[in-house]
Chain length 310, copies 3
């Protein structure tokens, strides 16, 4: 793999291969490139989770992480994203991870030779989030085929709803959507039906909640947080109606008592913090995959290490 | 030791043990954990000194420091401190250092398993500052018993006055307080009397100045900086009346010509920059102590290195 | 060399030696100090290029880079630059790189023992930029003697125009200036004449464009960007009149279609991205030079590594 911009571009075979590597990392296996590799994380939007997760993954692989603060960079002087990436490439940075508010910002970077990993583009894509969701489901059920997955909440403004629905469908799972009808997106119907919230929750093997993207859209429902929680949220009552062995997922950060009751965040069904742990393993896997491809392609010295004993 | 939130929680024996290790580090001894250990420094208030000092300590121990900028984190999206810490823990961060404007912020983190080192909580505590002050005094006098220590200045809003007074008293030193009576705190009387500024200065082995916390309280005296300096500051004239072999301490950053005359900052009695050097050694000692405890407790592979020859 | 504040302080012999080392680094040679060396990059002005370039250089030499964010530092609490540097020195930082908006900020740091590398002072100096420009020219022509260099643009507010003119003159090159007469500086005439833009471009071996420092001065010409480009910029038409084998340089970030036509930024004459690559090698060379001197002077253990095979 030369880059990771959207999950839609990645074949089922590649997805499975990356999940396999991520599972190995989760088991404690190690892999490191033998030479010094430089990576920069360009985050033009606030983020704890994704940025720290990439940083952890990079450090665990022994990569050198070049700090980049969008807020103090030359972007303030009007430099384009293209020139910023090209600059880092010229300096010897070997890979970049980018999060940017502009949907499909990566279109303008097509002629950059450096591998780009998309850390989130506006309301567009967030491929490593999809991969970590897939890993979490696979660890739980060992398969995707015929699993019932309900995706619930702010579907229209989510950057994972579409990718997750697409990838899960390709892997054989069955999708349902729920949440405020105003936030549903008709173009999602190809992946599965919109159903009532209670049906979505009690029929699912995986209840996949989405975060309300307050910061990404002004369009609000005419509801208080309490009302939203009662009507569309995973309340304590609704959790009791979930299927045996079904699980709860959420990309976090969680709006407690809005999408999900606060006391359910760490309940036995919740995989929310496990998703975060898996995020590191999945990103290690993506970095490894790209490094292996890239070293062959453009002439890094090709002596990546084999898997090492722990 | 499993965490370091306040010095009051730490026994005299533990304090002495940590000062001993810090002295070894000061002499150039080395100690490193054998495995990759991740630490994050969460500073929600501006800081050069403490943050850089922890960073130096962590790097000298070979730890991986995960960058965390409060200003661009998900805390902006309304995430709680608990969820932030829990997130980092889930990702594999092994320890966190936190500075937060909220006094006793750590109460809400009680159920986090990850060790927390308090880098300062509002007007509350700043335990590593206390430890570095103790190390500096010990290096100078070899003991605490019957030493005269005068703590002078903005006592009410200081996060070291109380902890220092408490720890020094437990170690056998004698405390006096001085400074603006409006900023004295009656509850400190259990540690020692309030005295006039000239008495405080000419009787002390250690003149411990406090920083005026302009940024932490609006309550100002009806005095110009020059007047404050003349009435409550360590002026050039007052320094001349200090006891032979007595020393000057200040946690810094110094307000030059307010708490202390600018020309005294680097005078022969001043240990101000030595305190900064000691800060690194003390923090290395705290980190070592916690790492040693923690590796035994929750199952890190327990093969910390022994002390190494320099 | 004990510090690098301006290129004017550096002898021709030292310049040549640093360019030689930089060339070795460009060829892939390695050099690292044997002990752990700490460096802090203090950037009080926005910067992608220079800060990242120093960071790359430092990491390639295996140095420990202590993060320092001016925006969250104690400078906010009114700490002086002197006290900040002295603090870092006390903590064990071995070198600092500083960029500051104040011209000749380093005058107030004269009594600091720690080596300082100037990363840019207001409209004053930017010595590593000059060195990287020199390296780029030397790689191209193998010499400086009798080369025709035209320096074009915002000469008055540039921090490289004067240093570059001075260094190039000392090395034997011939300088011409062009650009808006309002932005020319009469005191530069000692280095060479002011000529019309077309003459400057068609006679030069090196067309050295300067960035318009919008952020450093309010004084604007009464021209739109398009008019500036037509009158003083390197347009597509003017590029066609350049001498055979002549090259285009620009310190970047580029204002596309102002100083230079956007389509020329990556044309075959352009060395703009090569300059960035050279920036890393030149900074490695400066750091090496200072580390070698300093380890002898003030008693670091002197066992720097010799050049290593790649």
């Amino acid at each position: 793999m030369k880059k990771l911009l959207t999950v839609d571009d990645v074949s089922v075979l590649e997805i499975e291969s990356m999940l396999r590597d991520a599972s190995e990392f989760a088991k404690g296996k190690r892999w490191r490139p033998k030479q010094q590799i430089f990576v920069a994380n360009l985050f033009f939007e606030p983020s704890t989770r994704t940025k720290s997760s990439f940083e952890m993954a990079e450090r665990k692989l022994g990569l050198e992480v070049i700090p980049f603060e969008a807020g103090t960079s030359s972007v303030l002087k009007g430099e384009t994203l293209y020139d910023t990436v090209k600059t880092l490439q010229s300096m010897g940075v070997n890979m970049v991870v980018i999060r940017h508010e502009k949907e499909r910002y990566f279109e303008e970077l097509k002629t950059c030779q450096i591998p780009i990993i998309n850390g989130g583009d506006g309301c567009g894509n967030h491929p490593t989030q999809t991969l970590l969701d897939l890993l979490t489901i696979k660890q739980e059920f060992g398969k995707f085929k015929d699993l019932q997955v309900s995706i619930i909440g702010d579907i229209r403004h989510s950057r994972v709803a579409r990718s997750n629905a697409n990838a899960l469908t390709r892997l054989g799972a069955k999708i349902r959507f729920s949440g405020p009808p105003e936030w549903f997106d008709e173009s999602m119907k190809c992946f599965g039906p919109y159903v009532e919230i209670d049906e979505a929750i009690c029929t699912a093997d995986v209840v996949m909640l989405l975060r309300i993207q307050h910061e990404r859209h002004a369009q609000t429902l005419d509801l208080t947080k309490e009302e939203y929680h009662q009507i569309y949220g995973l309340t304590v009552e609704r959790e009791k109606k979930m299927k045996a062995n079904s699980i709860i997922m959420h990309p976090a950060p969680v709006n407690r008592n809005v999408e999900i009751a606060s006391e359910l965040v760490e309940c036995s069904r919740s995989r929310i913090f496990k998703q975060m742990r898996n995020g590191v393993y999945v990103r290690m896997s993506v970095l490894k995959n790209i490094l292996e491809t890239f070293t062959e392609e453009i002439g890094y010295e090709n002596h990546n290490q084999k898997w090492m004993a722990r």
